[in-house]
């Protein structure tokens, strides 16, 4: 339909460069010594201290705080990302199933309560939420970290939309074959939603991993720090050092963004599908 247009490619490449360059500089600079960065500024090409910096960030406890290293923080982030996405999928597939496939008196009332949670992000009710979690004794625990974040019903809505698009005939056929509500859900509905579940899983994993404000409020115990919030601690630490460890701070940023970026790049098709479908 169209010819090759050099100008279009130029614009696209500028876009790619605009997005890539900051990360490139951060990565290249993280492989230099802090003295080099302090003397010559950020670097555009790689230095010789990749292993030194990254192994120190990943394994040394004393580097930033007394008890944690990046490996532990990455583990916590993984727990948060997986707990958040898996928890959300389990709870929301069940709730959406009840709302779409069952006739029960309080159904639409519950639906509106769940719907209302979409309206108010956690950020506008942080202090009372903090108090609730603190009263329940859930500060510094994975439960306190994950459960309140699951409260928003985004995934429930998504599954509700999807279930509504499943043809009526499928339920009719299943009933004629004698399938009850449990069999229908496990043997028919869940397998049908496979790609949707995968898409939601990827999106929610990224959302969970990237949480920042809530982990800051919830965790004072360093062994529960996630890697994204650990960054803030490092910023504070930087100011204390005689030679600020810029290289390590940059290395931690790279480590914090690498897992979700890899997930999104590898599963690009699913995640784009999930995002675009949820628009409808």
């Amino acid at each position: 339909m169209k010819n090759v247009k050099p100008l279009d490619h130029l614009i696209l490449m500028l876009g790619v460069l605009f997005l890539l360059l900051p990360i490139w500089i951060a990565f290249a600079s993280s492989t230099h010594r802090p003295e080099t960065l302090l003397g010559e500024g950020l670097q555009f090409w790689f230095g010789d201290y990749f292993w030194e910096t990254y192994s120190a960030v990943l394994l040394d406890n004393s580097g930033f705080t007394e008890q944690v290293n990046a490996l532990l923080m990455l583990e916590n982030s993984l727990v948060l990302g997986l707990g958040f996405s898996v928890g959300k999928i389990i709870i929301s597939t069940l709730a959406a199933y009840a709302i779409v496939y069952f006739r029960f008196p309080a159904g639409s009332f519950f639906f509106w309560i769940i719907f209302s949670s979409l309206l108010l992000p956690l950020e506008v009710r942080i202090i009372p939420s903090y108090k609730v979690v603190s009263d329940l004794g859930m500060l510094n625990s994975y439960t306190g970290l994950i459960l309140p974040l699951i409260a928003s019903a985004t995934a429930t809505f998504f599954f509700r939309q999807f279930y509504k698009s499943v043809p009526e005939e499928i339920l009719e056929a299943a009933r004629i074959d004698g399938a009850g509500p449990f069999r229908f859900f496990v043997d028919i509905l869940l397998p049908l939603s496979r790609t949707m579940i995968a898409a939601i899983f990827i999106i929610m994993f990224v959302v969970g991993w990237n949480q920042y404000l809530w982990p800051i409020l919830m965790t004072t115990d360093e062994s529960y720090f996630t890697v994204v919030m650990g960054i803030k601690q490092i910023l504070n630490d930087l100011e204390g050092n005689r030679i600020p460890q810029y290289n390590k701070a940059l290395a931690l940023s790279i480590l914090a963004l690498l897992p979700p970026v890899l997930v999104v790049v590898v599963f690009q098709r699913w995640f784009v599908k999930g995002l675009v479908e949820s628009e409808k």
């Binding site: 997005l19 202090i127 609730v132 979690v133 990224v206 914090a256």
Partner: protein
């Protein structure tokens, strides 16, 4: 709802119970608390509190800091939404138009979606750092006495740039999907009727893209209001002088760092009303949404 449904007395309640319990405990109860607290004044030790009516609201609304923050939030959101949407639309139109290498560009332009705002802010901090930042030196070399530590304009510039950078990818995904859902027949007809690519874009493509554009706008406003918390907290913490504190950041600053429970709750409630208003507008427009 489905025409065919199961009739079962206890099962639906059982299925919906986990979601409902979490929402009641971690959403409905805290939200109610925020509303309750916004009408109360707590003594400095947190031992007693008394009902003060709309005093907290009056205090918040008449405070200069709040006005500064509201103005900043407005300008910030408008600029972040406009710039990131404009860049993303340009890239999406170009990516849609080319045949070779489209999937490579798609990957190279969408991965930033996965970067946390706080991480983006952290990297931005270093790029603009006084002693090591390359962007800082670059801007100084152009004769701009760039100093985000002291100058509100410069500080706003840095948080806006990083927030835009972070948001281009998401907008690109939606715009590209929107463009690709325009039927082939319509595109080809337009191509025959109108040879001028620029005019074709304004008269055919853009109107067809309007529903997507509106949806993306809502997402961007939500993003600029709430998700940029991480960017602001890592880059400026509202400094200098509260000039870069969004309304959401101020709720956190006043309530959590400043321990002003009543004032912070009143701010929360104002934000709740804002979000509700936004949602109502969104539904109104969506109802009128034209389908081609």
């Amino acid at each position: 709802m489905k025409r065919q449904q199961f009739d079962h007395i206890s099962l639906p309640y059982l299925l919906i119970a986990p979601q409902l319990a979490i929402i009641m405990i971690f959403f409905v109860w805290p939200a109610a608390q925020a509303i309750y607290q916004s009408f109360m004044l707590e003594d400095p030790f947190g031992l007693a509190s008394q009902f003060v009516g709309f005093d907290n609201f009056r205090e918040v609304v008449s405070s200069d800091h709040y006005a500064t923050s509201a103005v900043f939030t407005l300008v910030f959101s408008a600029l972040v939404a406009f710039l990131s949407m404009a860049i993303a639309l340009l890239l999406a139109v170009k990516a849609d138009g080319i045949i070779h290498g489209q999937s490579a560009y798609k990957i190279m332009l969408t991965w930033v979606y996965a970067v946390a705002p706080a991480v983006a802010g952290m990297i931005g901090t270093f790029l603009f750092d006084r002693s090591i930042g390359s962007l800082n030196h670059l801007l100084n070399a152009t004769g701009w006495p760039f100093n985000p530590q002291l100058d509100v304009f410069d500080a706003s510039f840095t948080v806006i740039l990083v927030s835009v950078w972070k948001q281009v990818s998401v907008n690109f995904i939606y715009f590209l999907a929107g463009l690709q859902s325009i039927p082939r027949a319509v595109r080809e007809a337009a191509l025959i009727d109108c040879r001028n690519g620029f005019r074709r874009f304004w008269t055919v493509t853009l109107p067809l893209l309007a529903p997507t554009g509106f949806f993306v706008l809502v997402i961007n406003i939500t993003y600029a209001f709430f998700d940029t918390f991480g960017v602001i907290d890592t880059m400026t913490r509202g400094a200098p002088g509260g000039g870069t504190a969004t309304l959401v950041y101020k709720v956190y600053q006043d309530g959590f760092l400043g321990a002003d429970l009543g004032g912070s709750s009143a701010q929360s409630v104002i934000l709740m009303i804002l979000v509700l208003a936004l949602t109502v507008v969104q539904f109104r427009v969506l109802e009128k949404r034209i389908h081609y």
